[in-house]
Assembly symmetry: C2
Homo-oligomer: 598 residues x 2
């Protein structure tokens, strides 16, 4: 998922897709590219050419890998929108399933580096020798040249924008969900052809508009790559407003539709065509197998209806039409993606208009609230469609009425190992199960605290499949059933080897003689696994799982008696996914309607 | 801590302190006021005049109370700096010990409301009829009128500012720590007198500077409340630069020292006097018992040395002196408070200069890193001094080598109750212990899963002191030792009553006859407590405690045998504080030097 091949494919693919003029955003592939680079750096390079520096091994664990990938994805957002703080908050609000305070300034550091490098390149490309790169400087869609003034009536309008954004956003999610199910029916070439045809052909439908005589001749009409008033098929002194929006890069299209202090620039018909076209393109382009992001298509759509609303509301408001376009884009984003803080900061960093902040906040909150009442966010829908085991942020209400004891009851019973285990048993367990961790238990141990005569069972901890394979590979066998000292292990295994997660049981060859020998698992066991009582509700277990960032959770009995196993079961992320629980306990789905949304 | 009296005292106190011209910030009291209002709203008003609306009771639990207080404090920061997003992030980075995604948009909502209300009042006070309120509009210290240009050499300078900020910030923390220990020696009146004397007297030391002839006569010199060039004791056509900085409100002082495109305005000597004076004032003012915040004093100090650096570096850099003052303020803030993202956004919202963002980020990160290598943040120091049980964000390294089993071993043994318990025992336990929760256990229960003959002990859950008192108050007693049905409880107790946390055991009168009766605790018990194995390390237990937001954590044995108690001990926040652990296990302190910093 984060390999070197993926990286190269994504880079080439996204360059191709963006330069083909398809209706897609750069931030999706850039987030993925950032995560790939982070993951590769953390493991010291691609699988076959790994650098084996000692200090690199410090990152070879789940937690740091996850942190690095989070940093990578926030760098991706930062690079796509030149929005360093927005990138940090995007990672915080949308990407990371768990969070710790150290991660905040680490992602902040990575985006700071990105923005300094970006700034340097923009400086170098100042004179325009790098093509379109660096246009607009650090602020992509600057609307700071307009003073924001509003009165009570304008707030009502802003609320209306928010509500429309919420409704349209959830509608978009709904339709995109349907479209993505038909994935294979959509042909790449057809989409590219359709996009080109529409973008070139539709401007002929628009009427030519005379240039405002107050504008200098060099800005209206223009014929270059960028420019706010494109001549296209019009006579001198006239411009084609639809060509301004369609015959340009996506970034420039946004810049043109956000343009402020130009109340007469666009005709309603052109904006309707623009809006409808980008609704269609936004839906079908995301369906083709091309690296793409959702931000830009949604911004384009949203700005279309926002500006249209601005034209019709013009007489009743003080807010500039360009700002209406910004607010429309923000509302559709929140209506579809359901983020608040990160979107707000991203829009602030994109548009550089701090005075717009209060109304942006209102629009985002209303659109999110309206959208949430219809369906889940677009990211949740896509994750659900792809079947990725991504845990929901909040447990479903019915999870409170199910205990983890009931949940493990319907699973196959847990496979446990003894503290000193026969090699044959280990090989058998590794070959016949796919579990990644096994509880380790000792029988007949006399609890030292109580000092009673008959021994009980002791839960020693949890051993990982990878460590069992390492022990077999290294042939760390004992002739008799005895416990080893810790120094013996330290001589045999370095922590670097234990951090390795590679190798499968098929690679291990064990002779029949060795099969009768023993392995002492105690030193290789994690003695501090997280546990829950069997009476714990699934909802609380899920919160624990997500907040602490676990892979395995042991379920222990609430009874204390001889003969009871100290472990009842083991829960993984898969077991706690709402979808998987509902297939086993279908009656829970009926009790509350909330999960029907998926 | 969050009562109505506190609220009124804080409001009056902070108005008095700010208008007295003391060197303190408004954000401290405003955060506290916001939290008080949130807490009072959540419980329906002050203790004696509570509104008993039914829906209000929904908030009467720990989690919602905590959320409300977090929203209140972010509103406070938002109101102090007119920085809505900064307020959210401040709460996220500094205030909340735990976090969930829903909290993000809830705090966002509260700050959105604050900023809209603020905006409305600023609009109403537009014509200056509300005194100083609303000056500067939504952006307090606007420096957006300067274009930010920098080259590689400037980055070096920026790094230097960051390093100096880190060193000065940690020095400030160190000295403030010493000053706060002498708390009582500092007299309120003396501080107020000293402040006034210095602010009025010191400007006489400064030389008069001739006004720049390019400036209109109405702006230089001025004699009003605000204005960048104060005449004070100077002849017409001249101004006193130290009076500009001292004879004004704190907000205006910041605005004046941040002023851009005025490279000749301040003389180095004046800035040195300003810096030294505010260092002294910042240290002694915080020691007096007046509601105060740290932001503004640190901004004043930092801007002083930043501008000074700007004057000396002027020939070698493109960066404006006003921006140097901003960067100096940012670096001292990060050096003392060790926040990154929230400070960055607060500064962005204060100064409205997006192009300054990359260098601000570098300065903040460097100052934080340098400061962290000397001592903990100022907030941690103050919390430690006041002895508040605020859990550290990260466990200390030595905590990995201590198990929770060892920790509960040195505590008095845990007090447990039976599922059906004698009234006398309950009264005795409540009177003779101060615990807030007790494990509930049943003897002789036959585990249904295993189906063996001899019964064991079952851990039923955890019961709160408040619920025991409710049961005694309602005299919910049984003549014989039997279990009740759940509906019996539902008839007797409403959830509203169980949410109440008031009443003490002293208020309960139990006759000697009742003492011999029984209470069935099963229905009142929380059957889903969080648990850890005794072999769990303290570090991981602490992460669990903080991430899930717990009050009690049960320690269960890793042994499974008859006669072993299913609960070994119970951990509270107090038990997991590094300071408290070290008093019991002093040898741990020597092993690593890191905790000596406190």
């Amino acid at each position: 998922m984060f390999g070197a091949t993926t990286l190269i494919v994504k880079i080439i693919g996204s360059i191709g897709a963006v330069s083909a003029g398809l209706d897609l955003g750069k931030e999706g592939p850039l987030v993925h590219i950032g995560s790939c680079i982070a993951s590769l750096l953390g493991q010291g390079g691609p699988d076959n050419y790994r650098i084996k520096w000692r200090w690199l091994r410090y990152f070879n664990n789940d937690r740091d890998r996850r942190d690095l990938i989070t940093c990578g994805s926030s760098s991706g957002v930062c690079a796509a929108f030149r929005a360093p703080v927005g990138g940090v908050l995007f990672a915080l609000e949308e990407v990371a399933t768990w969070w710790r305070s150290a991660l905040l300034w680490r992602t902040f550091f990575s985006t700071a580096v990105v923005v300094v490098v970006l700034r340097a390149f923009i400086e170098i490309c100042h004179t325009g020798k790098c093509g379109l790169f660096g246009e607009g400087g650090l602020i992509m869609f600057d609307v700071s040249n307009v003073t924001v003034r509003y009165h009570v009536m304008d707030i009502v309008l802003v609320v209306v924008i928010g509500i429309i954004g919420g409704v349209l956003g959830s509608l978009y999610n709904h339709v995109l969900h349907k479209v993505l199910r038909l994935y294979n029916l959509i042909n790449h070439l057809a989409v590219a052809l359709f996009t080109s045809m529409c973008e070139y052909g539709l401007p002929f439908l628009a009427k030519c508009t005379p240039c405002d005589p107050s504008l200098p001749e060099s800005t209206c009409p223009t014929n270059g790559r960028s420019g706010n008033f494109k001549q296209f098929n019009c006579p001198p002194g006239y411009y084609n407003d639809l060509a301004t929006l369609l015959l340009t890069t996506n970034d420039d299209a946004v810049r043109n539709i956000f343009s402020t202090n130009t109340p007469q620039e666009y005709q309603p018909l052109s904006l309707v065509i623009f809006f409808v076209l980008y609704c269609i393109l936004g839906l079908i382009t995301f369906g083709i197998a091309v690296p793409s992001g959702l931000f830009l298509p949604i911004i384009l759509m949203g700005s279309g209806y926002g500006r249209l609303l601005g034209i019709y509301m013009g007489p009743h408001t003080n807010i500039d039409q360009g700002l209406f376009a910004v607010l429309g884009a923000a509302s559709l984003m929140a209506g579809s993606m359901r983020m608040t803080v990160s979107l707000c900061v991203i829009f602030l960093e994109l548009t550089n208009n701090l005075l717009l902040l209060p109304i942006t906040m209102i629009v985002l909150l209303i659109a999110k609230t309206v959208g949430d009442s219809f369906n889940p966010s677009i990211y949740e829908i896509i994750l659900h469609l792809k079947g990725l085991p991504f845990m929901d942020a909040n447990p479903e209400p019915w999870m409170r009425n199910l205990t983890v004891g009931e949940l493990v009851d319907v699973k196959p019973s847990v496979v446990t190992l003894h503290g000193v285990e026969k090699v044959a048993k280990i090989v058998d367990v590794l070959k016949n199960t796919t579990h990644n961790a096994f509880p380790v238990m000792d029988d007949g141990v006399v609890p030292p605290v109580v000092g009673q005569a008959n021994g009980g069972t002791e839960l020693h901890g949890l051993i990982l499949r990878a460590h069992l394979i390492q022990a077999l590979k290294k042939k760390w066998f004992l002739k008799e059933r005895r416990r080893t000292e810790e120094w013996e292990v330290r001589e045999k295994f370095t922590w670097v080897e234990l951090a390795e997660r590679e190798g499968s049981i098929e690679e291990v060859a064990v002779t029949s003689e060795e099969m009768e020998m023993f392995v002492d698992l105690h030193p290789l066991t994690n003695t501090t696994p997280f546990t829950v009582l069997e009476s714990m509700s699934v909802a609380k277990a899920m919160i624990l799982f997500r907040q602490v960032g676990l892979r395995h959770l042991l379920v222990v009995p609430k009874y204390q008696a001889s003969g009871v196993s100290p472990v009842i079961g083991i829960l993984t992320r898969q077991d706690l996914l709402a979808h998987n629980i509902l297939t086993v306990f279908p009656h829970l789905a009926i009790s509350k309607g909330r999960e029907k949304r998926n």
